[in-house]
């Protein structure tokens, strides 16, 4: 077959698959979001954004992402640097660190629920040590800070590994000679990290951050398990519109709002971490 068309023929099946199962449903959702009957309207968007829980859930989602993602970034960079320096047992450590990746987010939420709930590990331990006389209900409306902390902890525990894997692969691509040159020309280990590792890691940082930020805006199951209705987030509200209120138009509008935020942040990340032409490895 003609070598010029062959590549297109080969990607045709997956393109078709994506069109039928992703693009088409997406168009349907978009249509639903912009209509209440037959005609085009912004009514669904007006309805969801004026609802009293919308600003709260928006704020919670953004706050959570703002708290969790930077910590995950710092942690995964630290862990990736440590793993790269290891001579022996590197794979074993990587496997152990990435175990949380294999657990569903709901299961992760339930694990942390078992720690924080009234009859959970934390209470048992604190009781045993005599710190508290009777079990405390941490995950209640009286302790919003603890609820936030528990959710953030569960997210950090659960989803740092996805960034770690990407960064470990990225660091592995940086030739050793650059570090040697930097060392000879007087860069301390910290300076080498700042001046060599970080800038050369930009493509991997882009991927890791885009993935992680999008997932942070879609947070749902961990919040549902730990915070329930105490801590509304955008995705939880979308679920409530669709299945509790049976308002699929509003749910579609919420989905599009989340999408818009994700796209916005993706563009910002791509822009900030872009590699100038001719400056890649």
């Amino acid at each position: 077959m003609n070598a010029r068309i062959l590549p297109y023929v080969l990607i045709l099946p997956v393109t078709l698959f994506l069109c039928v199962f992703f693009l088409y449903p997406f168009v349907l959702v978009a249509k639903q979001a912009f209509s209440t009957g037959a005609c085009f309207t912004m009514e669904n968007f007006r309805e969801v954004t004026t609802y009293w829980k919308f600003p709260i859930s928006m704020r919670n989602t953004l706050l959570l992402a703002a708290a969790v993602v930077p910590i995950q970034l710092a942690l995964s960079l630290l862990m990736a640097t440590m793993v790269t320096r290891m001579q022996k047992g590197r794979d074993l450590v990587l496997y152990i660190w990435t175990i949380p990746l294999g657990i569903s987010d709901l299961a992760a939420g339930l694990i942390w629920l078992a720690i924080f709930e009234q009859s959970g590990f934390l209470n048992t331990m604190m009781n045993g040590l005599g710190v508290v006389d009777k079990p405390v209900n941490f995950l209640s409306y009286q302790h919003p800070g603890v609820v936030f902390l528990a959710i953030a902890l569960a997210e950090i525990w659960r989803a740092t590994a996805i960034m770690l894997v990407i960064l470990v692969a990225g660091i592995g691509l940086i030739p050793k000679e650059y570090y040697e040159a930097a060392e000879v020309f007087g860069a301390s280990p910290w300076k080498r990290f700042l001046r060599i590792t970080l800038p050369m890691l930009r493509p991997s940082l882009q991927t890791a951050l885009v993935l992680r930020v999008i997932l942070a805006f879609e947070i749902f199951a961990v919040v549902a398990a730990l915070g329930g209705t105490l801590f509304p987030v955008l995705m939880g509200e979308t679920y409530a519109y669709q299945f509790d209120l049976l308002n699929s138009g509003a749910a579609a509008a919420m989905a599009l709002i989340i999408l818009a935020i994700s796209i916005g942040f993706t563009l910002i990340i791509l822009r900030v971490l872009r590699v100038p032409k001719g400056a890649s490895i």
Partner: protein
Amino acid sequence: MAEIQIKNVAKTFGAYQALHDINLTIADQEFMVLLGASGCGKSTLLRIIAGLETATSGEVWIGGRRIDHLSPKDRGIAMVFQNYAVFPHLTVFENIGFGLRMQKLPNDEVTRRVERTASLMHIDQLLKRYSGELSGGQRQRVAVARALAMEPDVILMDEPLSNLDALLRMEMRAELKGVLAESKTTAIYVTHDQVEAMSMADRISVMHQGRIVQAASPIEVYRNPSAEFVASFIGNPPMNFLRAKPAGAGKWTVAGQLFDGPTADKPELQFAIRPEDMQPAAEGLKATAKVVEPLGAHLLVTCEIDGSLFRAVLDSDMTVRPGEVLTLAPQSNRVRWFDPETTLAVA
């Protein structure tokens, strides 16, 4: 003053001994080439001087100061790497100024030095470019400029020209030699290319299996190799060897011919002569021509003498046919003798 002294340096990697008891003194402003085949330990020695590798034992001194326990940045060295290691995320300007920025020099000083070395290396037009936009030769120039900008006592180069094409390599060879002589730094240059070594070095250290076999001026290494290895490693085509049997005091028989030689009491010696030191003569060694290669400037004849292969470089005006028997006489002051037992030269 930046005299380099390497004292009893040895290096082992696990059970493998990469360097055996290396002793070498490199004079201030000398251009020293470490020459050897891959795996001979020349790069390891350079990296030990740079501080990128730690010697298992021994000491390294630069300018009267012991430096083997110091980190690379405190040794007063700069280095040019084989793959250039020009940082891809920095412009040419920032690459050349990298070391100066690390020293926290003021901005105008950085600019002054970067511009000076860039114009010295003829890359002042490229200062705003990234390395992805440069050719191999230009990257090489950036790497050299980055080292020179440090104004180091010692500049270390690890096969800096080996990734360039032949023509560019020849051009850079001459340029590099000029620039380094100008800069008055002591230079250690690692290469496996004997032409590079011969043409650039003040002194060559020929290395083999983790040892320095001979350290001498290029012409000395070429004319008076201290061991069979040096004789066969340097020179293209390499030196010829023929078996010599004793025939009385100071006399040796080589392929039926009698030669004056050393008065050593040995059952056998190796008679050695460079291919270009053979001339057709009325009397001499009988050589049967096997392959004749006209190379333009001269004629390379591979022949057989006494059952051994032998190469002679003859005048290009000569016509030699395969199968023809030539009578070749060695230039007597160019004949060298080696002991086959120790492989060392015998005077």
